[in-house]
Structures are given as C-alpha cells and as structure tokens.
Chain length 283, copies 4
C-alpha cells in the first residue's frame, strides 16, 4: 500500500482590491477581499519540486488587480467569473478554479443633506460574499453574506424540548433571539442574473422574515427565512445558514429588590448555540 | 530608599449590558460594554492582602446591571455618571471612579417600508464611547467614537515634505485618504448637556468636514475637523484624534499594458501612519 | 417542485472546559474548547417549531462539563469519544454526533530549577485539535494541530515556474519560508491508540521534516511532511494540510547604499499564498 | 478665546521588521513590530498643510528597515535607541521621538536532539516589549512583556472583602487565579545595561514569584511580583502591571449527582477583573 498525493489546491488568499470608478466626478467604490485557488494536475510540484506547471500565486495576485481594471467590477460575481476563467486559461494543468470574494460596503457621507461625490463611510461589519467555481468549464455561483447581526427583543420562545438528567435549562416564553448570520445561496445558473439586485432582494427578505416570524426556535426561524428566499427566487436552488445563537441571559436582579421583566440582559460570548440548516428544493 | 506602592486602580472590565425598554410595544435597545474602576486608599489589599476596603469587582458588575434597571440608560454618559457616583458612595476608601462605556448601535429592521417594533440589525463597526471620571466629587465627561472608517477617493495630496537620505516616497498630487477614526472630546461640564444630541451633531460635523476639506495631509484634515467641532460646540473644551493613515497604494499595471489613473489600489494592513492630534482652546 | 429541509445540525460551540486533576499535590491541567453537534431527524423543529426531539444546546454544554468530571480527560480524543457517545444515547432522534476539541497547552512554571506543582504558564499560540465523529455508531477520529508557526531562514527556493503576461515575480534561489500550519490526520480506527503519544510523535515529525527538507516549494515541503507521518504511523490513514505561505519580502536597501544578502525582510500580512494538500494511502 | 493646536505626534506604526543574522551557518532571528513617532513643532502641517518640516512616515519606515541592517538588532532596546536618535537628527523640527518595539520569540526546531541551524518555531503568544523615549536628548527606556498567561490551580483565596447591597459573591478559600500579564518596567538609565539579560531575569522573577506567593488577592500577588523585581534589580526604578483577572468559575455539578472539589471550571471571557498596580521606590 503506497503513499500518494490526494486532493490539493493552491492560490492567493485575501487580495485587498479597491476599485474606484471615476469616469465622472461622482465616484463609485468597490472594496473587495479576493481569494483565488487552482486545482488540477499539480503532482510534480509536490513530489518532485517541479514548478513548470505552477502559475505562481504572485501571478494570481497580479491578475486579480489587473482584472479589476481590465474587466471591471460591476458585481463581485461577475468579476469573480471573469477572473476564474482567466486563471484556468493561463494554467494548462488547471482543471478547476475557485474565486472567493468578500465585499465591504460603503455609504456616501452626507453633506448638506446629499451624498458626497467622493467621500465615503464604511457601512458596517456585514460582508457580502460570493464563491465562484469553474470546474471543467462549468461555472457555479454561491453568493451570500456574513456577520449580519440581528436581534429580536421579543417574539421568541424555547420550550417543550427533550430533557435528560443533564438538563437544567428552564423553558422560556419570551426571550431575546440574536444571531450573527452567515447565509450562502446557490444559483441555478451563472448567466442572465442581475447579481446586485438579487443580492439586495435576498438580504431584504432574510431581514424581513427574521423580523416578522414568531420564533419557537432558531431552527424554525432559519427554515422560514430560507423558504421565503426559495419561494421568491426561482434562480436560487438552495440556501444554507450558519447561525450562532448569541445568548442574552436575563440578569437576576431579585437579590437587589428589583424585578426584571425582560429588560436587563447580559450578552454572553461563549459558549453559543450553533445552528446549521440548508433549505433546498426537491425533485 | 524603600519600595512603595504607586498609582493603582481596580475594577470590572467589559460588562456586556443590554437594556431593552419595553414600556410600549415599540421597544428600544441600548447595547453597552461597561468598564468600571476605583482609585483611592487600597494599599492594605496590596501589602497585607486585606480586602476589607475592597468592593469586589463582582459587586461592581452587579451594580452595573442593577443600574441599567434602577437608573436606566437614556445615554451612555448619564448612565456612567450615575454608576460612578454609586461606586464611590459604596466604597469608603475610594476617592475616584472611572466608568467607560462603549455603545453599539442598532437600526430597526425595515418591514414593508417601516421600522419594526422589536427586530433590530446592528448598524456597523463604529462604536460610540464615553469615559466618565469622578475625582473627589468632580465629574468630567470625555465622549467620543472609534472605528469610524472613512475614505476619500480624491481631494487629497501629500507633497513638499522634508527629505533625507532614507526618503523614497514620491510626491502625490491625488491619492486615497482613509482612516479608522478614534475621536474623544472633553465636555466643559457634566450637567445640562443633551448627550445624545451633542453626540449626533459632533459625529455629523466630523464626517462633513472630512468630506468637504481638501487635504494636504491627514494632520490638516484632523485639525479642520477638530476646529469645526470647537467652533460649533461651546460645551466642548478639547477634542483629540488618533487616526491611522490606512494606506491604499496605487497598483502598477504598466507591466500588463494597462494604465491606472487612480482606479485600482491595494489596501495595506501594516505598517500604517498614525497621526495623533489634539485641538483645544487657549486662554 | 417543493421546498424541503436539507442537511442540518445543531449544537453548542466553544465550551471552555478547564479540568484540574488534583488527586495529589502535583496538579495537572487540561484546558479545552469543546464544540458539540448532533445530526438526525430534527425536521419537526424546523418546520413546526416542535422541540420534543431536541436536546437543548444548554444540556449539551452541561454534559460537556459533567463528563470532564465523570469520564475525565486523559486526552482530547478519549474525552470527545465518550461525550459523542453520551449525546447520541441521550437523543433518540440523533443518528450522528460531532465533537470537536481544541486543547491549549500549559507548561509548569520553573522555580529553583523545577516545575512548580500548581503554577502554570501558557505554552504558545499553537493548538492541539481533534474532531470525533460518531455516525450510526461508527467512530472516526481526525486529530491535528493549528497555528504551529514555523520559519526557515534558508534552504528554500522557488523557480522554474509557469509564466504568463501577468507574471512579474523573479525567481528566488534563497528565500524565507514561513507558515502557520494547520494539519489534520485521520486515524484508521478509534480504539487502542495512545492519543497523546501519537500526537507528540506526529508533531515532532512534522517539525523535523520541515526543518530538514530542502524546499523547492511549500507544496513539496508539505508532501514530504505528510509522507514522513504516513511512513512512521500505520494507524494514520491520511493527513491534510492548510498552509498559508507567510511572505517575507527582502527589503531593497540599495537606495540607502546598503546591501541586503538575505538579512532584512518585511513580514507581510496579506495577501498570502494558501497551499492545501492531502497525503493519503492508495489501495 | 481662540482655538489652537494642542499636543500632537505622528509616525509609522507596526513596521514588521525581520532580521536574520547569517554570518555563520547557524542563523539568528529577531522578529520585531516597530512603531515610531515624532513630536516637536509641526504646527504648520496642521494649520497650513505645510509639510516642509515633516519627515514622512514612509521615510520613518525606511529608516526602521535600514537600521536593522546598518545598526543591527542585538536587543530591541539598543535598536530602538539608535532609531530614535536617527529620527530626531533627521528632523530639525522634532524635539522628541518615541520608538516602541514588540519582539516575537522563536525557538530552534529540534532535530535529532539538537536545535536546527536555520529552522525555527514560534515560541508563544507572549511578547517582549520596549518603549524608548528621547526627549530633548534625554533617553528613557521602559521595557516589559505582554500576554504572559499564567494560572495557579490552588494557593489563591479571596475573602474578607467589603460588602454592600449589590454584593452576591461568596468568599473563596481556594480558587483558580489566572491572568494574561502586561508588565512594564522603567530603567533608571539607558546606558550600561545588558538588556537581554535583564529581560530574562525579570521575566523569570515575575514567574517564580507568581508561582510561589500564596495569593489573598491578585493585587497582593502583583505587589509581591513588583517588589521582587525592585529588590533584585537596582537599575529598575519602577514597574507597572495591568492584569486581567481571568475568571474560572467552578461549575455546579450537584444537579448531576457529582461533586466538584476544585476540578471542573468554566473559563469566562467577559467581564473580567482588571487590576492595575505600580510598584516604585520612594525618596
């Protein structure tokens, strides 16, 4: 029984590409974190130190920056697709490419009630994401967001759960529900989609469904959120969530002669619940 | 020459206090990170292990949560002042208290064009801060913000600087100027101020001045920002900034046959310039 | 075409379990970060908010702490296996459990040339890891380490690579090679293995091979490291690496009249190369 | 009452300087994070955008790297002193310079029982620090360490403390005491000191005293640690500590029919106690 090379890939991670569009005095900004990787027949690099088929990660970096100019960035998805195609073309040994992009959002600074032409303020911790795969020529796009932190101060319960000898949790009729959401949705195809419009609409649906759904568990809320997206977006095949249940514990103020009807909480860091759910289509 | 105890303080750091106001169906949320500390005559705790004058940090924590209910949180400043007074009162050996508060902002989630009653989304990485000092009964309030990340895609130069034999930097007529701003302003007094209104107005002034000022250096921009605040706010005595110059380097695309007139940049992490400026009043 | 629940799991992440063994005056410490999750038929929780089959994540947390006492922690692997078995037993709807453990290492503080009985100092950033899977009763163990940061100041080249029109990287005869290694190795079975001895030996092999192998690319070094482990450890079926190529760029000191024969480098944060390799057995 | 420029300084933060000494086949490595800043008469840069007296932070960066070659790095202190002197010399308007250095430690990788010539492994999270000030020609050196994480599993109590109506903490006869220590000690002068030997000895004294001192409070332990350093090191004038009390709470296992005599703890992240103490000399 011999020892052999198994699955492998290589690339350049976290290229911080900032693209300013300055065709007019009213600039636009796209602020990206780009990671590329290649798969294919790179065995010789591993077993013999032979780099002749290896497009350096430095070249992948150069290409990421050059394509921000040459191809432009109308959306993370469109840019990532172009970059993936180029990397495979440039590398005969490569069969597949992955390009992941995180986009950081900026708002215009308000001056005299109007958004400024070229001054911006970072919107928040939330990040728009996409991962484009180009496998043997077939493109797949999984877009999403991460660190979208949401909280409901009521409209959430957790009760009727399974109990064993290690269970001490009391049932909760009314609790805070909070999470820092990661969502990733797979598009049915990679052409003919308005990526920015789709992103904005999915995000709005996720938020509105989180807000409007009475929650008997984070699982139920996530399932409802996923369902809402699949109902409204035929072009989305599947959506997955990873959602930490960021616990907010009601503080016992009784020792101090104070009642606490859902008003004062301690936000805990660790441990946290971690709920992972995929909602998909059958048939 | 003997060995003696020098300056010392102790307290509880990073109490994550979340206060929900639910007097009506339209909830409000204040999300705070509270740090307390006490100074005074605590020598015996250090030299003899005698805790009889030491109010435990656990009690300081309890007080922070209890006061979120008993006193309430109309602003970080008002809450911190009440908490500081209580901690000094409860601790005979304490002469001074410091209470620092970071506040994380939340927006209502939009549903059908209207902010939801009890569902919220975290606004961003930016944090509102205050530090209240109560020294021998005298209160001082230094409020501020941190991690307000701003960027100008033009309207910034850097030239005419001092050169020596280690200087390689070319002069720049038009560059990106970006920073993650920390600002702290000291109020002239601790009474009669509408803390929330003052905060909102100072923040807006900082942003608008950053946007509107042509920058010949980050120093000049910060000075202009500080000046604007002092001109508009008599109740502010002094304002200080710590501003990393977050470098965005123009990428050389010439080797690839592409020009790059201020369009494609690499955002660098380290090193960064660090500019610290105080703007104050004389006389 | 309907909308259905896809893969899902839930559990409690990052339980910070510290276990002191104090049977004698010479204490031992195990410092763990424990994450549990369950898979199985939990559809009703998602679609109907029915928790009757859901063992709360709070109970999973309690069990993690109780088992640190009841079962003890002779190794992360042994503890995780016991915990996984318990969680599946306690949850009729669960078919599978995953328990992941990170262990933080402590050394005894030296006093008068001898390790102290009950005073410890954290060894470093490096973390020992394991992930135990219990799927339909079958246990699998994947152990590893992360954040093992290593560097060679010579004995590394990178040349003869593929070039295209975006390639600007010069060939390097002698460069710094550095990485913060993540390694994960899968054991052939989950019984009869001395987990601590195996861990120590694999770690030592990885380090010695990194040090001793002349590197024509990080890929070649990783392959050699994996090969060394599989040759020496029959009980290891496969080993995978994720290795950021932490670039150290030679600083051009020529403008200052100084030569720089591999002496002064700038350590870069981003971007970095990212090499992922699996070494496995055939047949 | 006019608006004027107050205290200000500027410089380059976090230059990641790696210096390899390769005079023989047995290499040495110094891995530094260097921050420089200048103070003086830089008013024109703030008020008029006039950079003619401003040595760019980019030049400060270049100088930091050039001096790693030209002056060398026998210790962070010696290197920082040389760099501070150069920066003041190069900048006529500067009266003062500050140079802060963090040093990350590396061990040689063991191969066949011997440390390798040019392969290294990062020692840990602990960081050696120094801050050199050169004010109007007078040098001052404050050296230290941070993130030295230590823990005692017994030999620590906390009782007899002040109680008020918000006190719920029970007295503790035997608890875990843990902290991630920051220490900074000021040297009496900047010449004639063996910086590396002094650092090593102070560090060892801090550890041994932490281990050996029965603790009635973290304050008492820190005071004893500081006292031990001042007793042994005449050249140290003063030492300051910032020490988070990293709480480890005993887990209540009684509901599960298990006793817990100081064996199973939960390590908490926040809040934490924060103890700050200076030990100094009188007269």
């Amino acid at each position: 029984m011999g020892i052999v090379l198994g699955p492998n890939q290589y690339g350049k991670a976290e290229n911080r590409v900032v693209r300013i569009v300055r065709d007019t005095a009213r600039h636009e900004i796209r602020d990206l974190n780009v990671t590329t990787s290649l798969r294919g027949d790179f065995a010789a690099a591993h077993t013999d130190g032979d780099q002749s088929q290896v497009l350096p990660t430095d070249t992948q970096k150069n290409t990421a920056f050059a394509f921000a100019k040459k191809h432009g960035v109308t959306s993370p998805e469109d840019y990532a697709l172009a970059l993936a195609r180029r990397l495979v073309e440039a590398t005969p040994a490569a069969t597949d490419a992955r390009v992941s992009v995180e986009e950081f959002a900026w708002d215009r600074i308000e001056v005299d009630g109007r958004g400024h032409d070229h001054a911006f303020v970072r919107r928040g911790a939330e990040v728009r994401t996409t991962q484009v795969s180009l496998d043997d020529g077939a493109a797949a796009v999984v877009s999403g967001l991460k660190d979208l932190t949401v909280l409901k101060s009521t409209g959430s319960e957790f009760k009727g759960f399974l109990k064993d000898e290690y269970t001490t949790l009391p049932e909760a009729d009314d609790r805070i529900l909070a999470t820092a959401l990661t969502a990733r949705w797979r598009y049915a195809h990679a052409a003919g989609i308005d990526w920015n419009a789709a992103y904005g609409d999915v995000r709005a649906l996720l938020l509105a469904t989180f807000a409007s759904t009475y929650s008997r568990a984070l699982q139920e809320t996530l399932y409802a959120m996923g369902r809402a997206v699949l109902v409204a977006h035929d072009e989305v095949e599947e959506i997955s969530f990873a959602a930490p249940n960021k616990h907010h514990f009601l503080v016992d103020l009784a020792p101090f002669g104070l009642d606490n009807p859902g008003e004062v909480f301690i936000a805990a860091d660790r441990p946290y619940g971690l709920i992972e759910v995929t909602v998909t289509r059958d048939g």
